[in-house]
């Protein structure tokens, strides 16, 4: 028993946060839409900081916030909306945040477009729509977009409100739904199963992505170095490659 716990303590690998530490494991909680970009940046980080491993955990921003509230260990939190970081800051669970990227929404349809949608207003003619649940950022942004377009959600045939954005892409990609609202970054990643229908600029709900160090992290220095990487020109370039927009100018 004692041997096991010593082994666990040794392998658990939470490295010391003081400079000159040999390395450790950095836990990054990030919104699902950041998966591709952060996975690539993790490789960069690990080569820049030998001995360090980055453990990425992707989920809905709301799910990650709930996990942090329940005491799950994390060092960095990057969300797809300011709502949940602000909530955590109110509970003193998150330090100050930096807005590091933006995203925008797009309507997607299956590649063969069974409902013949050519513009976003076509969704009012009975197309089966899959959207995000209001609790998850993509759902909240979708509500904003619909409000900006003056479309009453109850007039739409919404068949499902998903807890994360991935099933929206999948169900539209399978052709089981006629359309769905997702991030531009998701449409890019799913390029060929779905076709994007751009939204008029006036209807957009610009999604702002904040990132911050989790208060209970005992590797604040390493966590800050991750944030520095994400906000560096290298980080901005990688995010841009996957379709993210630049950080909002302060």
């Amino acid at each position: 028993m004692l041997a096991l716990s010593l082994l666990a303590a040794g392998c658990g690998g939470s490295g010391s946060s003081s400079s000159g530490a040999p390395g450790g494991m950095l836990t990054v909680f990030a919104a699902t839409s950041l998966a591709n970009a952060f996975t690539e940046l993790a490789k960069t980080y690990e080569s820049q900081h030998p001995g360090w491993k980055v453990r990425l955990s992707f989920a809905g921003s709301d799910a990650l916030a709930a996990q942090i509230e329940q005491g799950v260990r994390a060092d960095v939190y990057a969300a797809a909306s300011p709502t949940y970081p602000e909530q955590l800051q109110g509970e003193r669970l998150l330090g100050s945040t930096t807005d590091f990227a933006t995203n925008s929404l797009v309507l997607i349809v299956p590649s063969d477009n069974p409902a013949g949608i050519t513009s976003v207003r076509d969704i009012t003619s009975g197309a089966k729509l899959v959207v995000g649940d209001a609790a998850v950022p993509i759902g909240a942004y979708t509500e904003t977009v619909l409000a900006n377009l003056g479309i009453d959600a109850s007039s739409l045939d919404i068949v499902s409100r998903e807890p994360t954005v991935t099933p929206i892409v999948q169900k539209v990609g399978l052709g089981e739904a006629d359309a769905g609202f997702v991030y531009v970054t998701d449409a890019l990643a799913a390029c060929c199963e779905v076709k994007p229908i751009p939204l008029p600029a006036a209807a957009q709900a610009p999604a702002v992505y904040p990132i911050g160090v989790v208060s209970e992290s005992n590797q604040a220095k390493a966590a800050q170095q991750w944030i520095d990487l994400v906000t560096s020109s290298r980080g901005r370039h990688t995010l841009g490659e996957f379709g993210f927009g630049p950080a909002p100018s302060s």
């Binding site: 809905g60 709301d62 919404i158 499902s160 409100r161 998903e162 807890p163 399978l174 052709g175 089981e176």
Partner: protein, 236 residues
């Protein structure tokens, strides 16, 4: 962890009430389907041998080991708009995904094999001499099944039904994929709990979870008590 007040407040929310209603409606329909269809099949599998029996049994039991998310995708491939039966169903005016029927289908697909296995085991435990005696007394196969086999296997069937129902009630992965989530239509209690916990409504989620645990425990207890003796048709 949370007080009675929170429990009551959690229950008062329309999300919780709708979720419980949908869960009970769909799981009871699913239970009916799996008992009506599964009992005769289990009887046949338990009392007959035929070439390919092992393969048939394996196919029926496959959903037991299938990850629920895979089951959900499989249901799309079979019953979706673009699925194998898609065009036939559309011709009949039926589009199954994202409907209550989709919830019932997903539950039955995932939980049915559990009932089937228990029922098969219950029928296997029935003394073959009893069945043979009934035949020699002139009963046809249907009568032997209904009037002898089912009553004698009753307790095992009851346990199987309770387990199958509990599994259907708790199903999450296949339903959320194949049926989606819409309050008042397809949002079952497990889905509502998941969303509530994520969306910062942890109290409502815990309340709903507590109700589900209480009900499941009550049903299992009832089945055990109603059965009386335990070991003759020992459940697996």
């Amino acid at each position: 962890m949370f007080a009675q007040g929170d429990l009551a407040a959690g229950l008062r929310s329309s999300v919780a009430r709708d979720a419980l209603l949908i869960s009970f409606q769909t799981s009871l329909i699913s239970l009916t389907a799996m008992v009506l269809v599964g009992t005769p099949i289990a009887y046949l599998l338990a009392t007959r041998t035929f070439p390919g029996r092992t393969i048939v049994v394996t196919l029926f039991e496959l959903p037991l080991v299938l990850p629920p998310a895979v089951a959900g995708l499989g249901l799309f491939f079979a019953f979706g708009r673009r699925g194998l039966l898609g065009s036939e169903l559309s011709a009949l005016g039926l589009e199954i995904p994202f409907t209550k029927l989709a919830v019932v289908l997903a539950m039955t697909f995932v939980a049915g094999p559990l009932y089937l296995r228990q029922a098969q085991s219950a029928f296997t435990a029935v003394e073959p001499d009893l069945l043979a005696a009934a035949r020699t007394l002139g009963a046809g196969p249907g009568r032997v099944f209904l009037r002898v086999a089912v009553p004698v296997a009753g307790e095992g069937l009851g346990v199987g039904a309770a387990l199958g129902w509990a599994r259907a009630l708790g199903e999450f992965g296949a339903t959320i994929i194949f049926a989606g989530s819409l309050q008042g239509v397809t949002q079952t209690a497990p889905v509502a709990i998941y969303l509530g916990f994520e969306g910062g409504q942890a109290d409502a989620a815990f309340a709903l979870g507590a109700i589900m645990i209480a009900i499941s425990a009550a049903v299992l207890l009832l089945v055990k008590l109603a059965g009386g003796r335990t070991s003759r048709f020992a459940p697996m």
